[in-house]
């Protein structure tokens, strides 16, 4: 299955970051088509037909989400783009915005038109400030060429588009925390309902979508939803940007047609080119740090011995017993020498750091998991710690306001599910494991 490129089709064209070149390569056609020949509802209909699913992690059908948007008379509606991109292993949105900023701007205009939004925001993580400047420049070009502002293309449709920086908080990627942050507050997720579609930004109906989701709307409008739905496999339609990192020969951002075999993605030269230094693959986190880790055998083949594909369904095959999730497409490969306990501790530290602290199970539980994993990793663990971790993770899961709690619990539970022997080895052979992992670096003192 040779790679079909849609979002990154013109990535290598010199100057594609500028309006001129982007436009010459067919840019902004979706805005013209939508505004001149389609009603907003027609656009929503095409997105529904396309089968596009949210690219930010949850995979919720975009057209359906759009159709939930409340439309009360006399109140503004907002489209907010989620460019917070902070899920460990994920860097595709940065790549797209930096290289082809107009792809996002065009998607924002076409999508805003579909939703009837007259003011839209792109919320970008603060660390990406240089990308914010790139987007601002692209937006200025779009205004200068009549694609933003008043009376766009003489249609009577007005749209203002702004970029808004965050300031370092993974939780602001959660859509209601993002809206709080955009209102100038701490990024504490809101209790749902009400959902943003009814009461979002400034308590007005709001749609929040990921960068890649919004960018995909332009090609969908251009080619038509039915055509887009033919790309990919089954209910995983279209293409997906995958951020590939870890122990890979060719890490980077790849646009894949959904349905590429995982094995091909890892080993073929078209994609990641195999594992670094000729080593063997041990495990993969396929969709960003939050999704369950799978050992090599289960990521390449499902429990039924079928080839595992890069698609929502195939990656989820086997549920959490033997499957995982496509998530944000942050694909992290671990070679045979990687220490799963160490990585699990590292991720647990991340979630503990990023918990907003509103719910006790998440605030306390992530702290406990980090502490127990630290003690296991540094040679002070007990055998009972392993089940204690499972117990803590179960007490977090499903008991919190937002899904960060689950996202913290899954990596721990799945690592123990699939690599329990390695956790036991840490308890039985603390010296060997310290030597293996820290022969190189003595900086960490064991703090109990």
């Amino acid at each position: 299955m040779a790679g079909k490129k849609i979002l990154l089709e013109h990535i290598d064209v010199p100057g594609i970051n500028t309006y001129e070149v982007y436009r010459k390569m067919g840019g902004y056609r979706s805005v013209e088509k939508a505004i001149k020949s389609m009603s907003p509802d027609d656009v929503v209909e095409e997105v529904k037909k396309s089968g596009l699913r949210g690219r930010g992690g949850a995979g919720f059908p975009t057209g359906m989400k759009w159709s939930f948007l409340a439309k009360p008379e006399g109140r503004p509606r907002y489209l907010v783009c989620n460019a917070d991109e902070s899920e460990p292993g994920t860097f595709k949105d940065r790549y797209l915005m930096e290289k082809i900023p107009h792809a996002l701007i065009e998607g924002m205009i076409t999508s805003s038109y579909a939703l009837g939004a007259n003011t839209s925001y792109i919320y970008i993580r603060g660390e990406y400030f240089y990308v914010l400047r790139i987007l601002e420049k692209a937006i200025a070009e779009a205004y200068a060429n009549g694609f933003l502002g008043k009376n766009i293309l003489g249609s009577g449709y007005d749209l203002d588009l702004y970029v808004h920086p965050g300031a370092g908080a993974y939780i602001c990627g959660e859509e209601t925390a993002l809206l709080e942050s955009l209102e100038g507050k701490r990024g504490n997720p809101r209790i749902k309902p009400p959902f943003p579609a009814v009461a979002g930004l400034y308590a007005c109906p709001t749609v929040v979508n990921n960068v890649e989701t919004i960018a995909a709307v332009a090609p969908i409008v251009n080619m038509g939803g039915d055509e887009y739905a033919k790309i990919g496999v089954g209910r995983s339609t279209g293409t997906k940007l995958i951020s590939a990192g870890g122990h890979l020969n060719r890490p980077g951002v790849y646009e894949i047609e959904l349905g590429v075999p995982v094995e091909e993605f890892i080993y073929s030269d078209e994609y990641c080119g195999g594992i670094k230094n000729g080593k063997k693959l041990k495990a993969v986190v396929a969709g960003g740090s939050s999704v369950p880790i799978l050992p090599a055998n289960l990521i390449l083949k499902t429990a039924n011995n079928e080839q595992r594909l890069m698609s929502y369904e195939s990656l989820a095959d086997g549920g959490f017993v033997s499957g995982t999730m496509l998530g944000s497409g942050g694909f992290i490969a671990f070679d045979e020498d990687s220490c799963i306990v160490r990585n699990t501790w590292n991720f647990a530290r991340f979630y503990h750091h990023e918990s907003c602290g509103q719910c006790s199970p998440c605030r306390e539980g992530t702290g406990w998991m980090e502490k127990i994993l630290h003690r296991l990793e540094y040679g002070h663990g007990k055998m009972s710690d392993i089940d204690l971790l499972v117990d803590v993770s179960k007490k977090i899961e499903g008991n919190t306001i937002c899904p960060l709690g689950d996202a913290a619990a899954w990596p721990v539970a799945s690592a123990i599910r699939h690599f329990r022997d390695e956790f036991e080895w840490h308890v039985n052979e603390p010296k060997l494991c310290l030597e293996r992992n820290y022969g190189i670096s003595q900086k960490h003192e064991v703090v109990m």
Binding site: P76, E85, S86, E87, P88, G89, T90, F91, D93, R94, T119, R125, G126, E127, Y128, F129, Y130, R133, D160, Y162, H164, P165, G166, A167, G168, A169, Y170, S181, L182, E183, G184, K185, R186, G187, Y202, S243, A244, G245, G246, H247, P251, G252, V253, V285, S289, G330, I332, F334, S338, R342, N343, N346, F347, F350, H353, E354, C356, I440, S441, K443
Partner: protein, 173 residues
């Protein structure tokens, strides 16, 4: 230190930021304005600075404090002129983030989290910066430095010393 007050130029920028949000929702400008304040007033947010921002946006000081203390990019204490933020999350750890931190510590003679005596450098370990495919990496001000080797770090530190500052987040270009 001179009085905590933006220049006329900066006030114009602040006003244009405020104008992006609906009437009465000027609090939305808080984070963007705090970024500017931090860059202009010594790389951190003192209570004077935060009170000033509160008065500019016509909100209560506590509304600024609670936001400033929530987000990791806001420094509530002084930091070095160049803040070296090394990503230490999983994918970077797999590709040498710990070695990078150790190398910086040895070169600068400080521990992670500390500032050099001359106030030039602070080393800080941070979570994933969206640069996992180009690990190990660090961010200094606005710039990402990726695929780092010891040689690249040497060159970077020399360059920063020569320039005496990092590139500010909020620079317009």
């Amino acid at each position: 230190m001179s009085e905590t007050r933006f220049s006329e130029e900066t006030i114009k920028v602040v006003n244009s930021i405020v104008s992006r949000y609906p009437e009465g929702k000027q609090k939305s400008a808080l984070i963007p304005v705090l970024h500017i304040a931090q860059a202009e007033f010594g790389g951190w947010l003192s209570s004077d600075t935060m009170d000033y921002v509160a008065s500019l946006l016509e909100i209560k000081p506590i509304e600024v404090y609670e936001v400033a203390s929530f987000y990791s990019m806001f420094n509530l204490k002084p930091v070095g002129k160049c803040l070296l933020e090394v990503c230490h999350t999983g994918p970077c750890m797999l590709n040498g983030a710990e070695e990078l931190v150790s190398y910086l510590e040895r070169k600068l003679g400080i521990k992670s989290g500390e500032t050099t005596a001359d106030g030039m450098f602070t080393i800080r370990e941070v979570e994933c910066l969206g640069s996992c495919g180009t690990a190990p990496m660090l961010q200094c001000g606005r710039d990402f430095h990726e695929n780092l080797t010891n040689e690249k770090v040497d060159a970077l530190l020399d360059k920063l010393k020569a320039e005496g500052k990092q590139k500010s987040y909020v620079d317009q270009d």
